[in-house]
Subunit: 229 residues, 2 copies
DNA sequence: AATGCAATTTAGGCACACCTAAATTCTGGG
DNA sequence: CCCAGAATTTAGGTGTGCCTAAATTGCATT
């Protein structure tokens, strides 16, 4: 019924640190500060220090780290981070397309399972889905070889009035936001036109697809939407 | 990307201990000895003691335990054990039927994932499979309410010559054994007749289904097969 | 150049689940 | 009844990852 599951090659925590460094550092792979990591991972800064020391002090370090100068991924760390992200996004699509999960629930489930599926299962899921390249929220799925084409997308909240764009992706962290977006028809590939943009905290207004009416979008929503022009 | 996953209600280890106690204790739920648990879980006896103390000393104890007198599940512990077994067997069937896993690989994957899927995912998998009651190896899948009808099955290795039976289940731990059984056509619902049984370590011989020839079965194989007469 | 605060690191601890070695306790023969 | 050997428990440790409190360090701004 059980066996010696001693030490998994990469722990759940390690995976999460690597993903966080990749995400925060962005495509340019800037050095990431401890504070940013602490915020992102919801962990105290002191804990970050300890973990970075460990991750950078291993036989094959996953992180490059010097006191007070932040952290960045080593090639090995980046490889693992992309692998976990591949797991995450394949699982999301799988839950959505095969198990009929609503799109606001897939993220939480994938966030846990991404650490525990085998390479075999990754392969089977990818096959079942036909080696997909996009997850339910429009995010790119890293390929088996770790490649992930860069996107040219901007956050809708940064678009000025008059601009038009196609939704490329939406942030998947907040189920409530995802549900509202779905209701509004704001999903990847939808067309949006910014019809109004006032100063201050007045919500922007957008027209969705071929609609004749425009609707208001609070920052809570607009900042979760990414478009390409 | 991550969050405070502080303490899951039941840890992977806890789940494994509960499953082991249920399995070893059998349907009569005998008290299980520390040694048997140590053997089953591949852990030192001292570790068993510590864990049993913890599991029996909680707010709502999962285990009933008194020094030197072994352990048995409390109702709460049994409920959790059956829930994990339900997860395990649903996952096995799912991997086999939906993801086209070979039947000798499902056990290892399920053994890990059973601890991490949500109730939502359990529900979706069960729905996708049509609320199944039997896993790929012929084991019963506990129902949502925790019920699991008892089986009347005997191990093939205990059958005398001349007896006939229908395979009800096969042990799923050893991939190599499972592969051989599949090759021989020994799967749940197959008909077997014991044609020969000698003393000593001479392998028994069985006829499979309507075959005209009988084949030898070493104890390694016959002890993994359960039949009903 | 000085300083004052924010960011980071160190120190000391905790919970988990495991281990080894060294007690105990129990039990079945004699 | 007694006692050795087996089973179990206790004692003392380890590695992971987290926390709080108490240093440090570095940097922006005078
Ligand atoms: Mn996600
Ligand atoms: Mn996504
Ligand atoms: Mn199994
Ligand atoms: Mn099974």
């Amino acid at each position: 019924m059980a066996k010696k599951s001693t030490t998994r090659a990469n722990s759940e925590s390690t995976d999460d640190y690597l993903k966080a460094i990749l995400t925060i550092g962005g495509p340019q792979e800037d050095r990431v500060t401890g504070n940013a990591l602490a915020e992102h991972l919801q962990v105290r800064p002191a804990s970050i220090t300890g973990m970075l020391q460990k991750l950078s002090g291993q036989e094959t370090p996953l992180v490059e780290y010097e006191k007070h100068r932040g952290a960045r991924l080593t090639p090995a760390g980046k490889r693992r981070a992309l692998e976990v992200i591949r797991h995450h996004r394949l699982i999301e699509l799988f839950l959505h397309d095969i198990l009929d999960y609503p799109w606001d629930e897939v993220h939480a489930e994938a966030e846990r399972l991404e650490h525990f599926i085998s390479e075999r299962m990754e392969e089977r899921i990818a096959a079942k889905l036909g080696d997909p390249l996009i997850d339910p929220h429009g995010h790119g799925i890293p390929r088996k070889d770790g490649s992930l084409p860069e996107r040219r997308e901007v956050c809708l909240s940064e678009l000025a009035a008059g601009n038009t764009g196609v939704v490329t992706s939406v942030s998947d962290r907040r189920p409530d936001v995802l549900r509202e977006l779905k209701n509004l028809g704001i999903v990847p590939r939808a067309h949006l036109t910014v019809t109004e943009r006032r100063a201050g905290s007045r919500p922007m207004r957008v027209r969705i697809g071929p609609a004749s009416q425009d609707i208001p979008l609070t920052v809570r929503l607009s900042s979760a939407i990414y478009v390409s022009q």
